[in-house]
Symmetry: C2
Amino acid sequence: MEYPSLADPAYREAVVDLLGVLAYGELTAFIRMATDSDLAPSLRLKAEMAGLAAAELRQFEQLSERMREMGVDPDRAMEPFVVPFTAYHERTRPRGWLEGLVKAYVGEGIAKDFYGEMAAYVDPQTREVMNLALGDIGEAEFIVSVVRDALKTDPRASGRLALWGRRLLGEALSQAQAVAVTRDALATFLVGGGADLAAVGEMFTRLTDRHTERMTRLGLHA
Amino acid sequence: MEYPSLADPAYREAVVDLLGVLAYGELTAFIRMATDSDLAPSLRLKAEMAGLAAAELRQFEQLSERMREMGVDPDRAMEPFVVPFTAYHERTRPRGWLEGLVKAYVGEGIAKDFYGEMAAYVDPQTREVMNLALGDIGEAEFIVSVVRDALKTDPRASGRLALWGRRLLGEALSQAQAVAVTRDALATFLVGGGADLAAVGEMFTRLTDRHTERMTRLGLHA
């Protein structure tokens, strides 16, 4: 497979967008997780959630560093995504610790799957930079047992959290669409250049399947 | 000077309190700074404040690790300080980005000065552990120029932020007193064992002087 070149301005613009959205997603994930750690019912869990937030920030910092090396100003690259991410987080403000946990696990999972799909279409240098921010965050694994334990003692939470997971997926997809509408280069790259419409459809099927797997791991119906 | 021994149960209890209050202070500072980073007026400043928060969490993690090595359960050590720290942060909730910045700089400064004073009275092993969490956080230095620049464009902010700094000092001292009242071993160690009342008075004078120096660095009257 032949990869597009960063010397092509339209492709480069799409890559800057891709790195910008990835970086800003991690910065806001850091802030939301850190804020939500204050809802934790124990000090141990507060520290675990704080550690997960900090892992997101480390990835953000590595990514920003590499963007600068590529001659990309991270702030300028992130700017177009402030509005959609703010909207996503406003619309998915957790009403408690458990919703915060599920959001951290499921929301970040969807985002990383999406960027992982994108990484298949970019040039090797860009892919390497993206991969820095896509490494599996082992810090999130504590969430699985905490949610499963909570469901044992409060079975009614299960229906509420299943709905919550569906809402997270819906809001994430609708913000992704809002982004695609305003970022021409990115949308063209996604639909026109690297992928075609059928491939995009298949990608969304894969994203939804993986979302279902994640919900199942948490003990929830997707 | 002869140092107290960790084999003495009353002294050990005081040390556990000291490490617990230090660790919990850093964990909550992390959460508050990360939350307040969302108020930043630019992405660069958001990332700087997030980085400062993360530095606090790294110190918290190192400290917790060392407490475990000393046979101290960090969660149990921190528990008594949840109420006073929650009260402090509730009573000093910033009403904007600048207040958040001044709080991060001044509030953390007061806390670290206080623990630095305490470190003079503890045994060398404990002092070494405390020093892990007391290292100067260079990450906070960006605050000085941001506050000074803000005062240039909005001179009226100066009176408001000066009052704010005084309130932070007052609230910090009043929470410290609330802690002393409920934690016998710690209070006895501070007033009876290591220090005497005159020394405590001198210590508070030093803390206030250093607070004044910090405010001056920010361009504010103390």
